[in-house]
């Protein structure tokens, strides 16, 4: 009698264990999503919203973990060292895979250490000034800069970031000089702008909401096409400048992710960004939606590397890329 009971219990216990291992299919446990920036920022907020949608689609938890630092490189370095089993992914930008490694040596190989999964939006950048500024157009500002060399200073969210490099391109193409004052993020730069401590700022997406609330005035959008949220603001393209730099918000996995798992993730993301909530959020954060699956994203990254390298060499910022891509 005693033994029968024990046998029954152990069989029942077994019964609970077997199904989980036999019917296992990806994803069978929570997926960790490393986020390359701190909580509350646009990358973080978008990643969290998207991960909630993914949870509905894949029926599995996606756990966000913030790993800020080094402009996003700390997160990517961590990702590069993880197993490519599809249970660890990262939310970051494309800048961590071209602009930044070209300028300083990173521990990961930008084009070899990762499997790009999906890119969902492009981050706009703009040149803004405070609302009662004497400059009404970009041209006025550049003319001032030419007549008064060394007097024009622009604030920017970090040295070597996309807006910063864009400003230097304009500098080179217009034939004058302005001085970069790096701050810790676009938010700080915009704050300094509002206090009139700098005359102009080159900012990431945050400037849009400030423009709409009347706190700053946008002189130009660093893009070729106008932003849908700011239809009256001219672009640098229209004004004759060639500023081809783009930054996309994207998700990555470590290199070597099996094709079947990659496909599952890719489709999940593609579906997630079509949801109402995500679309609204992309709008609210003033980003331009894109739809780049893994192969298109990889193609973009491959193409962008030599282009970015050339731009940075032409600007005199580097002599050669600090990291080799593979």
């Amino acid at each position: 009698m005693k033994y029968f009971k024990t046998l029954l219990c152990s069989l029942l216990a077994f019964a609970f264990f077997i199904p989980t291992s036999v019917l296992a299919e990806y994803p069978e446990k929570p997926i960790s999503m490393y986020i390359a920036f701190g909580a509350g920022g646009s990358t973080d907020s978008m990643a969290r919203i998207i991960s909630k949608e993914i949870k509905k689609i894949l029926k599995q938890q996606v756990v966000p973990i913030n790993l800020p630092g080094g402009g996003g490189t700390v997160c990517m370095t961590r990702l590069a060292g993880e197993k490519a089993d599809g249970y660890v992914i990262a939310a970051a930008l494309t800048a961590q895979l071209n602009r930044i490694p070209i300028q300083r040596k990173t521990a990961y190989k930008p084009l070899a250490s990762f499997t790009p999964i999906y890119a969902y939006a492009a981050a706009p950048a703009g040149i803004v000034t405070y609302k009662d500024s004497r400059f009404n157009t970009l041209k006025e500002m550049i003319d001032f800069g030419k007549k008064n060399p060394g007097k024009l200073k622009y604030g920017v969210g970090g040295a070597g970031t996309t807006p910063d490099v864009s400003m230097r391109l304009i500098e080179m193409q217009a034939g004058f000089n302005w001085i970069s004052i790096p701050f810790k993020g676009s938010m700080e730069a915009l704050t300094a702008l509002m206090g009139k401590h700098v005359d102009v700022v080159a900012s990431g997406p945050k400037f849009v909401s400030m423009h709409l609330s009347g706190q700053v005035r946008t002189l130009a959008v660093l893009n070729d096409e106008r932003l849908s949220s700011l239809p009256d603001v001219p672009t640098t393209g229209e004004q004759g400048f060639n500023v081809p730099l783009k930054t996309y918000f994207a998700f990555y996995a470590p290199a070597g992710l099996p094709a079947d798992r990659l496909a599952i993730l890719e489709n999940a993301f593609a579906e997630a960004v079509k949801s109402q909530k995500v679309k609204e959020a992309i709008d609210k954060f003033a980003m331009a939606p894109v739809d780049m699956n893994s192969s298109r994203l990889s193609q973009y990254l491959e193409k962008a590397w030599p282009e970015e390298e050339q731009i940075l060499k032409d600007l005199g910022i580097i002599k050669k890329a600090a990291t080799s891509p593979r």
Partner: protein, 162 residues
Amino acid sequence: MKLKSNKTKEIAICLSLILFSLFVIFYLSPFHIEAEKAEILALSPRLFPELASWLIAFLSTVLILITILEDERNRHPKKTFNTFAEEMTVLAASAISIFFIVSFILLGFIPATFVSLVLLNLTQGKLGIIKNLGISMITTLSVYLFFHYVMEVFFPVGELLK
């Protein structure tokens, strides 16, 4: 005699601080800061580290002077160093800490924590073996459950157990 050895200890500390600051200024700063020499030192990334090191050197020198010139009567007799037993316990705790990190990486959270707690309690010598194992086990499990389910922090599986 005792007071004099205190003074010597103080001077030794100051001298090592001076050596350290010189090390920073002449080796670490030029070689471990990835920048070329800027024309204006004030704009260079080397400014603050070097300034800080010079300050340390200066303050240590001042301290040495004060220590040498100070009147014996004014010294507050401070017990700054431990008995041998205390040092041993602290060393043991440090060793257990290192052991913990290694076993955390290799074996995962639960075994590492449990064993380390048991060892730490042993250094205190106040708990009987059964109480020790009991408390350690309960603590380990409650911490695990709290972090896993409430804080959503997932502990990695140990390398050796993968």
